[in-house]
């Protein structure tokens, strides 16, 4: 399984990411997910969220997740970009791409990866009003 992890303070450039997409001939499904900062956080209006990461552990935990993902589904490739630092409302903080032979495993793997990210990857958010 090909894997790419980018933790960055720079805005997520979807066009650039899509231009680098590679799909093997036997693959039939590509799932993309974009997580976007909402205007409302815990019922309060906000302007932005600042993401903080324990970077060394983030890399290690994603490696463990990708290893597990590879065991569970026949994924061809996974790419994940997570912003850190200040992300304004309506801007993406997370971009995920999963390429698999069929849509079922692509959707399932993408959903699982994001659920696990929110459970074990040491990134925190601090909203700004």
């Amino acid at each position: 399984m090909k894997r790419q992890l980018i933790i960055t303070t720079a805005p997520i450039d979807e066009a650039a990411l899509l231009s680098k997409r590679k799909i093997s001939d036997d693959m039939g499904a590509v799932v993309h997910f974009l997580g976007v900062v909402r205007r409302t956080e815990e019922e309060k209006t906000i302007k932005a969220i600042e993401y903080e990461a324990f970077q060394r552990m983030v890399g290690h935990q994603f490696k463990l997740l990708f290893d597990e993902m590879e065991k569970r589904w026949p994924i061809d490739s996974v790419r994940l970009v997570h912003r850190i630092g200040v992300v304004q409302v309506n801007e993406p903080s997370l971009w995920v791409e999963v390429v698999a032979p069929h849509r079922g495993e692509a959707f399932a793997a993408c959903q699982w990866l994001i659920d696990e990210l929110k459970r074990v990857v040491p990134i925190w958010k601090k909203p700004f009003a």
């Binding site: 990461a53 324990f54 990210l117 929110k118 925190w124």
Partner: protein
């Protein structure tokens, strides 16, 4: 033995610092370390059950026996995405 401890997210605000060092007897566990830290930083007490603990870059449970040189990180539930 001396154990280096780092705080992340709002634990830095609760303790007023990003890192500290605790001295513990050999054979001490993470539970022992937490007990000592809660006494020193009572603000962490309310978060006791939900506090996540890592040694190096791996999560560890309360029964983990600490070793000299371990780098312990304490933080609240994660919120990525």
């Amino acid at each position: 033995m001396k154990i280096a401890v780092r705080f992340y997210s709002y634990f830095k605000d609760l303790t007023g610092s990003a890192e500290t060092t605790e001295t513990l007897p050999p054979g001490s566990t993470i539970a022992d370390l937490l007990k000592q830290l809660m006494a020193r930083f009572p603000e962490l007490g309310a978060m006791q059950n939900s506090t996540l603990v890592a040694v190096g870059v791996d999560y560890q449970g309360r029964g983990y026996v600490l070793k000299e040189g371990d780098e312990v990180s304490l933080f609240p539930p994660v919120q990525g995405g």
